[in-house]
Amino acid sequence: MSPATASEQFDLRLYVAGQTPKAVRAFANLRRICDEHLAGRYTIEVIDLVENPALGRGDQILALPTLVRRLPTPIKKIIGDLSNTERVLVGLDLRPRARRASA
């Protein structure tokens, strides 16, 4: 799969359950990565499942935090506090996956 082209709009959703340390960390990491790599072409929607438990079913949320790339398609899921930037970039298709094996 080829990395996303520079003009595409990123529609991201971050699922969390309350203001847990992992959730706070994930949000901070996500903001930093997006500002560096997707400046001006991303939206982040944070969904707190404690407030909206019914929403977990639609995106098949299991692990938390989960970042869902809704656009560009196909849908991608990235779980964890997003502290491994390289992996987040791979997950978002901003880095080619081939390098993963050695990483």
């Binding site: 994930a26 438990p53 949320i61 299991l62 692990a63 938390l64 989960t66 899921k77 990235i78």
Partner: protein, 488 residues
């Protein structure tokens, strides 16, 4: 009283509603706790879980949540519809909630610390939505294929089972059987309340399913492996009834259908609700003897059920007519019903379960199985014995007099094959051939008959167009023995 304490004051039980399973668990699964159900692929784990939910929702007023990690909700509903389970209807009535949990490692990138709070939130939400009391997680081990961090996974599963206990949810957690342990991921380490193992094995091309309660903390339970079936009505575990030696022993006697044979049995025939074995080599007249018994029972106005594993009913009726016994009139009157089946069409337990159903439905006074040996061919010796014990128990408890014919092959001694079932039989009549010069002559003797004086004679007999005719013994010096011959 002691029994009552153990069974009822021990722990609360949630009945599964699965026939037989509640018997071997003395009432059901531990209420408010998780039970682990492990088994190989196709062993019936999912169906057990769904039955537990459907029965809970429809019969015990306990709504349930199904979290399925493998099939999707539509496929699942279609799969169980053939068993009469309408999941959609129960879902609409808010008695059941099905959530399909999809995990695919290839779609997920792991980038740091996480937990499974999402699963907890979904489960909690589902449970609250319908006020669930029962939960099934099928098969949660799938998560191990979807997530890489097994350390997190194990910690979260431990938390999940504690979570279920804290909320007093009765849960069934299914798992694949492992090589060394009960489950691949060692879930038995986390769920220690109750463990049930399912097994599906094939012996001589006939498949048998088995269930065993491996562990049940705080409760007595049957420890054997029990056969179970997946049939039209879902799962049935044999025994359908518990195994107890508690049936009545009536003093009433019933005629064998032959005055001379009654003579040999203390002058009054068999006991009602006893078991009778007719054994002998091929063509000795076992079926004719059975037909006489049935004929006499029907003449008394009793209902008879005849299980045929060799002949068709039409063939049986024709053959017996040639021996002067008119069975058709009893069929026409509704007193005699035939159930004919090929022995190798199903496994042994299916046959026995069908017999069970038929007997429960028609409530006969007399049951004949002709020949029982054909059924024995479809199971191993231990299987046959344990199942036969249960069926006999069931019949005796209902006050049914049962007659079994048994075919001895010529290579065996006459009393050989029956050794495994003879102890279950109250009366054993043997029929045999003697070849003297150019003529084969038949004879009959009573090998045993519990609770009555019986003759030690070996009586020759003939089968004519008037049926069985017992002839007097040649040795006139010892006329009737202990069994008083009827005084004329």
């Amino acid at each position: 009283m002691a029994k009552k304490l153990l069974d009822h004051n021990g722990i609360d039980k949630a009945p599964t509603g699965i026939p037989g399973l509640d018997d071997i668990t003395n009432g059901g699964l531990p209420a408010g706790r998780p039970t682990l159900v492990s088994g190989g692929p196709g062993s019936g784990k999912t169906l057990l879980g769904i039955s537990f939910l459907v029965e809970g929702a429809s019969r015990y007023g306990e709504p349930g949540v199904l979290f399925t990690f493998e099939e999707n909700a539509q496929e699942l509903a279609a799969d169980v519809r053939s068993l009469g389970y309408d999941l959609d209807k129960l879902c609409q009535e808010k008695k059941l909630l099905v959530d399909y949990v999809h995990v695919d490692r290839s779609e997920i990138e792991e980038t740091g610390e996480y937990d499974l709070e999402g699963l907890f939130v979904r489960l909690d939400h589902a449970v609250r939505q319908i006020g669930a009391r029962r939960v099934v997680l099928d098969t949660i081990e799938t998560l191990f294929g979807g997530l890489r961090d097994t350390g997190v996974l194990r910690a979260e599963l431990r938390r999940l089972f504690r979570w279920l206990r804290d909320r007093k949810l009765t849960a069934v957690v299914t798992a694949e059987r492992g090589e060394q342990q009960f489950t691949r991921q060692g879930l038995e380490e986390y769920i220690t309340d109750a463990v049930i193992a399912l097994d599906h094995r094939v012996h001589e091309q006939i498949s048998t399913r088995r269930i065993r309660v491996v562990k049940y903390r705080g409760s007595t339970h049957g420890t054997n492996e029990y056969p179970f079936l997946i049939g039209r009505d879902g799962i049935t575990v044999l025994p359908v009834t518990s195994l107890l030696l508690e049936h009545d022993a009536p003093n009433e006697r019933v005629s064998s259908g032959l005055a001379e044979l009654d003579d040999m049995l203390g002058g009054r025939g068999y006991y009602r609700a006893s078991t009778i074995l007719m054994s002998g080599t091929a063509g000795t007249g076992k079926t004719t003897l059975s037909a006489h018994f049935v004929d006499a029972a029907c003449a008394r106005g009793e209902k008879c059920m005849y299980f045929l594993f060799e002949e068709s009913p039409q063939q049986m009726i024709r053959n017996m007519k040639s021996a002067g016994i008119d069975l058709k009139r009893w069929v026409d009157k509704g007193l005699l019903t035939f159930h004919a089946d090929r022995p190798n069409r199903h496994g042994l337990e299916t046959h026995l379960l069908e017999m069970h159903h038929a007997v429960e439905l028609a409530d006969p006074d007399v049951v004949v199985v002709d020949p029982i040996t054909n059924l024995m061919a479809v199971g191993t010796q231990t299987d046959v014995r344990s199942m036969l014990t249960r069926v006999i128990d069931f019949l005796k408890t209902r006050g049914v007099t049962c007659l079994f014919t048994s075919l001895t092959t010529s290579s065996q001694t006459l009393e050989h094959t029956e050794a495994m079932i003879s102890s279950l039989m109250d009366t054993w009549v043997l029929v045999a051939f003697d070849t003297i010069k150019t003529q084969r002559s038949r004879h009959l003797y009573v090998l045993k008959s519990r609770g009555m004086p019986h003759s030690d004679e070996v009586r020759p007999f003939r089968i004519t167009s008037n049926g069985f005719t017992l002839l007097p013994t040649k040795d006139r010096k010892s006329p009737a023995t202990a069994g008083a011959r009827r005084k004329k």
